[in-house]
């Protein structure tokens, strides 16, 4: 193997246009006007240089800092972990990094947005750079960037995304799941039940004579009924059940690991509770009843849509038998 270095051209070094003293002044002023903290340590982790950014962001007296160990000057630093990290920089001669995404901050520094952000300390991206000098051995330069803004906006974005995800699943009026999310859930529960050979039942229910309610009490009265009925039914369900608004006054409940007997029992309880719980709207008592159709997953069903169709037919049957009752899809088939 030839000496590779002799073969490649050396990187051109710019000849400074000013003398060394001027260059030193320029460099030091740049360092002091940077909006980034600069801290230089010797190989024993004692502070050699710190720039104005750090001086104004800490309450420490400049004279006392130089020569001190970084760990006694900044007692908040995790000593064992940081020592190991700093050693890697010295020994491997490679840069090392610490992002706010893993550690919000290393140095407890106040930030310039105390009102609009909720964190007490400045969020930081820290970079640890190996510095080689002619004398006094190796040094480490720590750059501390203020990323409070980026951190704040990222947090807000995540919060907003979580809210949007929640809103996209919820029905605005009744605050139960909307049809789309309910249907996605059914698709998943259907696949799960098929895969693990588990039971699965469905209840579809519809308010009786809802159109008359709207005519008698106005749409606001109708809305109130939808809200109250949703809330009332929610109290009767298990956590694993998925309750959603299927359409205008039609609701649907997914019951994982439940056979038709269990589903009928629940449907009857819902029917009974609603019929015996009068609602009041503008001092007027409204009596609400529901009709319910129940279907259990069987071998005859080849997709989740068919299960909905079965429960829907049972619901239709309950309506035609006089409303305020439960009908089982299995009865229809036989």
């Amino acid at each position: 193997m030839p000496d590779i270095k002799s073969l490649t051209t050396a990187t051109k070094i710019d000849v400074p246009a000013v003398n060394e003293l001027v260059l030193k002044q320029i460099n030091s002023q740049i360092s002091n006007q940077l909006n980034t903290g600069v801290l230089v340590l010797d190989a024993d982790f004692n502070i050699v240089i710190w720039n104005r950014f750090l001086q104004v962001h800490t309450d420490k007296v400049p004279g006392n800092i130089i020569g001190q160990s970084i760990f006694s000057a900044f007692t908040e630093l995790p000593q064992r972990w940081l020592s190991r990290k700093l050693s890697s920089v010295l020994q491997l001669n490679t840069p090392s990094f610490c992002s706010w995404q893993q550690r919000h901050h290393l140095f407890e520094l106040p930030h310039t947005r105390p009102i609009t952000t909720d964190s007490e300390f400045m969020a930081q991206n820290c970079t640890f750079l190996p510095i080689e000098t002619d004398a006094n051995g190796k040094h480490i330069c720590i750059l501390i960037e203020d990323v409070t803004d980026a951190c704040h906006y990222q947090m807000q974005l995540q919060k907003t995304l979580a809210e949007i995800a929640q809103i996209s699943r919820i029905d605005g009026l009744t605050q139960i799941y909307n049809r789309r999310h309910w249907q996605d859930s059914l698709e998943q529960e259907y696949a799960k039940a098929r895969r693990h050979d588990k039971k699965l039942s469905l209840i579809m229910l519809d308010l009786d004579h809802f159109k008359l309610l709207n005519d008698d009490y106005g749409h606001q009265g109708g809305d109130m009924v939808l809200i109250e009925v949703s809330a009332l039914i929610s109290t009767l369900l298990r956590v694993e059940d998925t309750f959603g608004r299927y359409g205008g006054e039609e609701f649907a409940i997914i019951l994982p690991e439940t056979d038709s007997a269990g589903a009928i029992e629940l449907a009857q309880r819902i029917c009974r509770v609603l019929a015996t719980t009068p609602l009041t709207y503008n001092d007027k008592v409204i009596n609400v009843t529901v009709s319910l159709g129940v279907a259990q997953l069987s071998d005859k069903v080849s997709n989740y849509e068919e299960l909905i169709t079965q429960a829907d037919s049972a619901l239709y049957q309950a309506k035609s038998r006089g409303r305020n009752q439960v009908c089982n899809a299995a009865e229809l088939a036989s």
Binding site: K5, L7, T11, R80, L92, T94, S96, Q101, Q102
Partner: protein, 202 residues
């Protein structure tokens, strides 16, 4: 034949440079970790952009990807991806000499990736008389969906990727990962010039 593909001589030369870089990097690493580091000769492949996309999306058990940008003189720049296959990262903290509760698993992965990438690329840069700077390493979230998306959204279009398969074995600890160097067109041309310069004198 793609004009960015390396000739056999260029490929051999590059393999040699990478072997040296990897050897020195693992030596440094062994000293730092204070343990014996066994390193197989790394295999390198150059992969066309579309093929890499295919390979990576087929790797179902990919657990994490850490990305780190690098840039140096003479237009040599790119992005290093460290791809971890299995969930054997639980002991990286031990390996690095940290207490497990001192840092999260994400931070451990980022740390070891940064050390592997920068020690290797530093020595590699020295070989071609260059010096590299690095961006902060970043853990790509939700690897499965994001990786191919990330590759498509790179700030530069890249045509050739250098896939370096690294297999590190540290005493009583086996540790595997793939390093993938994504290099844009102009940087490939520049690397080829450097390789040709070396070959001319050989």
């Amino acid at each position: 034949m793609n004009e960015f593909h390396l000739t056999e001589d260029q490929q051999d030369c590059l393999q040699e440079l990478i072997n040296i870089a990897m050897g020195q990097a693992s030596d440094q690493l062994a000293r730092y970790l204070n343990t014996f580091v066994y390193l197989k000769v790394p295999s390198i492949e150059s992969v066309a952009a579309e093929d890499l996309m295919k390979t990576l999306s087929q790797q179902k058990n990919t657990m994490a990807v850490v990305s780190q940008g690098f840039f140096g003189f003479e237009g040599i720049r790119g992005e290093a991806l460290l791809v971890y296959q299995e969930e054997d990262s639980g002991r990286i903290a031990d390996l690095l000499g940290y207490e497990p509760d001192e840092l999260s698993q994400d931070e451990q992965l980022i740390d070891i990736s940064s050390i592997l990438t920068t020690t290797f690329l530093n020595v590699f840069a020295q070989q071609i008389n260059n010096q590299l700077s690095y961006n902060a390493p970043k853990l790509l979230p939700n690897v499965q969906e994001i990786l191919s998306e990330h590759l498509q959204q790179m700030p530069f279009t890249w045509d050739l990727a250098l896939k370096v398969n690294i297999n590190y074995q540290v005493t009583d600890y086996s540790f595997n990962c793939n390093m993938i160097l994504l290099i844009p067109e102009t940087a490939i041309t520049n690397i080829k010039h450097v390789l040709d310069r070396i070959l001319e004198e050989y």
